[in-house]
């Protein structure tokens, strides 16, 4: 009884969210769905949303795990505000995620999972599938559990093993909805379950059963068609922000000729950088899983002194622990990149949720006058580029650099146009030559104010560095008052001078107008989409998104000067806006902030910007 679906809906972009219990395999369904979308030629962005607990109690709200995918024929910069399709594998996941579904969205549920016990655990007093609470949606009640068991009957698996493939049933339904093939997914099964033919057979059978079921039922009478995205020609891959960060460092190491050393301690959501770099000993990467955060950065400082591209990766609480050692790197003027994949704080805070609330800590969180370069990536894919640039600046200017990303960028994925390493900007560390008669540990290049990098083992350059204040040029310990003033000024000037080496700040839209929207770091996607929507509506609104925070781009003042109002949006209580007020006073600053562990939605931003435009 196969029916032909005549009803094809053309879509520019579709947001799909897979949600279920944390053991339900939603991350896998989401990943396979997005990889297939990419192979079908669509642009995309993904975001996994999982609980802090490894396995929270079964069927509870706390245990809900989700994976959101935004696919489209246009450039995809966000993971989407609200979803067009919600796949919910149990009552708790439906309850927790219904608010993220668009009115009229297609909601696919496993009706077999809505039993009395599960409903009770999720806090439903009535079965939402049996009252009219979901009448505003296209509800598809699929007997996923039963049909999954049915599909693998011939394989003599027990119910528990059979149920593990339920996520493939949902995925199969999605493939039908989008009209996609199974090739990539089959290939994945083959690799993943290499020596388990039974498991491969089960997953294939369930995937096909899901596809066939979707084809049959009335509720899914229309299918989506998303045409191929128009993207810059080139070779592409899907990449998460954390992997992109790790690869950016590897590229910087290869291009600079300095071996890579990472000293790090596992911490959510930054651990993937450590895991990723640990894989590439073939590229000479030395990865040291230290005993704590402090040892992570201190080992990196030791490695930096000896000539490695030295890195440490962490998240907010870890950055707190590293503060004193960052001061040592500032004082010894050694290159070092500290990556902070920000999460909700303070303290342990919201480990798996995203925030931009470590900006103050990055800028100011140390004792003494302690300037550090601060750079922020703004998409999962450009984590690669900014990790590369952070390394370049650290080595060429002999300074620690803090690279801010966040959990949203780090765990989220995007399509990434693969560059050629030889085409990336050159990196030339100022390495001192053997027996240079003019070598002095703190003699500086007048253009950059950077001192030279004199590597142990080199003849004629023996010298000591350390945390005590050093005499200008000679580097001996000095407590002389005027020398201290001079060294404090020099360290600040060295960092400020980097403004001459970084790109000017760009503005999207007119250079003058009513409102300039300012944002930085991981919020680029929703902010740019919201501004673009208003620009299309003819509003006098422009956007400046900052990646270089300390120092700010050299044209920052002129960027701000062109606008009557400046609204700064950030996922904290107003840290960048205060930094701008301090460094560039006199503008009509407004702010929009959110600290909920959630990204901005385009809708909320459009409303805020409209209000700002209308305000007198």
């Amino acid at each position: 009884m196969v029916k032909t679906k005549s009803n094809v809906i053309q879509k520019d972009a579709v947001v799909v969210k897979f949600v279920g219990d944390s053991g339900d395999g939603m991350q896998l369904s989401g990943t396979l769905f997005s990889d297939t979308a990419a192979l079908e030629g669509l642009d995309l962005a993904t975001f996994p949303d999982y609980p802090a607990e490894i396995r929270a109690p079964h069927n509870t709200i706390a245990g809900v795990s989700g994976f959101q995918v935004h696919v489209g024929a246009k450039k995809i910069e966000t993971t989407g505000d609200l979803c067009d399709v919600l796949v919910a594998m149990n009552p708790a996941s439906l309850k927790a995620n219904l608010k993220w579904a668009k009115p009229g969205a297609t909601i696919i549920v496993d009706e077999n999972a809505f039993d009395e016990a599960a409903l009770k655990k999720s806090g439903y007093t009535e079965n939402p599938l049996e009252n009219d609470s979901l009448s505003g949606y296209n509800l598809v009640k699929a007997p996923v559990t039963l049909l999954t068991r049915e599909a693998v009957k011939h394989l003599s698996l027990d119910n528990k093993s059979a149920d593990r493939s339920k996520n493939m049933f949902a995925l199969g339904m999605m493939y039908h909805l989008f009209g996609w093939g199974f090739d990539h997914t089959y290939e994945f099964f083959g690799k993943k379950f290499k020596n388990k033919p039974d498991v491969i057979a089960a997953n294939k059978a369930v995937l096909e059963a899901g596809f066939n079921y979707a084809e049959t039922i009335e509720a899914l009478s229309s299918v989506f068609q998303v045409s191929k995205a128009k993207m810059e020609p080139g070779r592409y891959r899907n990449i998460t922000g954390n992997v992109a960060t790790a690869w950016g460092f590897l590229a910087a190491s290869e291009r600079s000729g300095r071996p890579l050393f990472l000293g790090s301690y596992p911490i959510t959501p930054a651990t993937e950088i450590l895991i990723e770099l640990a894989k590439y000993k073939s590229l000479g990467a030395k990865v040291f899983q230290a005993e704590d955060e402090i040892a992570g950065i201190c080992s990196a400082i030791g490695a930096s002194y000896t000539g490695s591209l030295a890195l440490t990766s962490t998240s907010g609480p870890g950055l707190s622990l590293k503060s004193e050692a960052i001061g040592l790197a500032v004082m010894t003027e050694l290159p070092l990149v500290i990556v902070n994949v920000q999460r909700g704080g303070p303290s342990t805070g919201l480990p798996t949720k995203s925030e931009q609330s470590d900006l103050y800590q990055a800028l100011f969180g140390r004792n003494g006058e302690c300037p550090v370069v601060v750079i922020a990536a703004s998409s999962s894919a450009n984590c690669f580029y900014y990790a590369y640039m952070a390394s370049k600046i650290a080595m060429e200017h002999m300074t620690p650099v803090i690279l801010l990303t966040d959990g949203y960028l780090g765990n989220g994925s995007q399509l990434f146009r693969i560059p050629k390493v030889a085409e990336l900007p050159e990196i030339k560390p100022p390495i001192a030559k053997p027996n240079d008669p003019d070598f002095k540990p703190y003699r500086r290049n007048p253009e950059t104010l950077a001192r030279q990098w004199a590597l142990p083992g080199t003849e004629g350059l023996r010298h000591r560095v350390g945390g005590l204040e050093k005499e200008d040029i000679y580097g001996n310990v000095s407590t002389d008052p005027l020398n201290h003033q001079k060294m404090v000024d020099l360290r600040e000037a060295k960092v400020q001078k980097i403004a001459e080496f970084i790109p000017e700040q760009e503005i999207t839209g007119a250079k003058e107008g009513d409102v300039l929207v300012v944002s930085w770091g991981g919020t680029f996607g929703p902010v740019s989409e919201a501004v673009e929507a208003l620009q299309k509506g003819g509003k006098s609104i422009s956007h400046a998104h900052f990646n270089y925070i300390m120092p700010l781009p050299r044209n920052t003042a002129s960027v701000l000067n062109g606008f009557k109002k400046v609204i700064v949006c950030e996922l904290n209580s107003g840290q960048f806006v205060n930094y701008l007020k301090m460094t560039h006073p006199g503008h009509n600053y407004r702010k929009y902030n959110k600290v909920q562990g959630l990204p901005f939605t385009v809708t909320e931003l459009v409303n805020v910007f409209n209000a700002t435009l209308e305000e007198k």
Binding site: R235, K281, F288, A290, G302, H463, R464
Partner: protein, 347 residues
């Protein structure tokens, strides 16, 4: 047994002297401080070790001992409090061709830096740690440390400390240390000899130096180290030799059941045959631990190399893994990496 210095470190083509390692900086330790003798021993032993002078590197944390890098002409980092072992780990892993030395104190290594101290030892990274144990905080002027004897009156323990002190040797062996030695600052010959052995050892070596702080803990080790009774209250262990000590060389250490005991040669029929023969290279740390724990008045304090066991070093294994990966893995360049796995062309 390993009699060769580390072969991966380049040797000096010219004969070096003590002067090659003297820095031009004024040494600012108190007159009479035990650290002067340690500095002098280092300057004496480095030419004998024979590496190029540019391949030596000192790392320190904070404290009186930690000013050491400024006073010796090598590459050096004066780090932050407690973190010398962590910094030195990064130095050695990053460049295994360096002879890396840490100067640290009892507070720096066992209080604020306790975590790094036990972990560098556990990993057996080839770093030589000189532990200046003066049983007091000197640079902050006289607070008790993790090795201050219980009951000691200090500025922060006016009624006497109520903390059980660490025995550094016990801590090192508990952390699976492969090399532990103990010396006295006032006996430079033994100190030089032991530092040479430490340099030869592949892996983390810890040399505890019973050091006198003339200002805040003067004579803290005196009941053991004073010349008057030193021979009766210490025993210098030498590999392969029976454990004999005493001014008259008539006392010894014997294993009685599972415990050590002090015996007198010639009494109760005890002969040299009955004494323990020191085996520093033994892998089993059991006897080493008992020797490291010996304390006055029941036992003489053990000096010299107590343990020097051969185990693979972390830094060697890193290089082995890299060499293996370079030979076996398909990804040889970052371009290979970027194009690995699932990629596709868009035209």
């Amino acid at each position: 047994m390993n009699n060769q210095p580390n072969l991966t470190i380049e040797r000096s083509s010219v004969e070096l002297t003590k002067e090659d390692f003297v820095s031009d900086q004024m040494v600012k330790w108190c007159p009479g401080c035990g650290a002067h003798a340690i500095l002098s021993s280092v300057a004496n032993v480095f030419p004998k070790i024979g590496y190029r002078k540019e391949n030596f590197m000192f790392v320190s944390g904070i404290g009186c001992s930690s000013r050491f890098p400024y006073y010796v002409n090598t590459y050096g980092i004066h780090g932050i409090h407690g973190r010398a072992a962590a910094i030195a780990s990064g130095v050695k892993i990053s460049n295994p061709h360096l002879s890396v030395w840490v100067a640290t104190g009892d507070g720096d290594s066992m209080a604020i830096g306790g975590n790094h101290f036990i972990h560098i030892i556990r990993r057996n990274i080839d770093v030589n740690i000189m532990l200046f144990n003066n049983q007091i905080y000197g640079l902050t002027k006289g607070q008790y440390s993790p090795t201050t004897p219980m009951g000691s009156v200090t500025k922060t323990s006016p009624q006497g400390t109520i903390e059980h002190p660490f025995n550094p040797g016990e801590l090192v062996l508990g952390a699976q240390g492969t090399f532990f030695a103990r010396v006295i600052d006032a006996v430079p010959r033994l100190m030089t000899e032991v530092m040479f052995e430490a340099a030869k050892h592949d892996g983390t070596s810890v040399v505890e130096i019973l050091q006198n702080c003339v200002i805040f803990a003067d004579k803290t080790h005196d009941s053991v180290t004073n010349k008057e009774h030193r021979d009766d209250r210490t025993i210098v262990l030498r590999n392969g030799e029976p454990m004999i000590f005493g001014k008259d060389k008539n006392k010894g250490i014997r294993l009685n059941g599972t415990r050590l005991e002090v015996v007198t040669l010639g009494e109760n029929g005890v002969t040299e045959e009955d004494l323990l023969v020191h085996d520093a290279y033994q892998q089993d740390p059991g006897i080493h631990l008992m020797l490291a724990k010996m304390s006055y008045p029941h036992f003489p304090v053990a000096l010299g190399v107590i343990r020097s066991a051969m185990y693979p070093t972390y830094d060697d294994m890193v290089e082995e893994q890299i060499a293996y990966a370079k030979a076996k893995q398909k990804i040889k360049t970052v371009d290979d990496l970027l194009n690995s796995g699932e990629t596709w062309e868009i035209k």
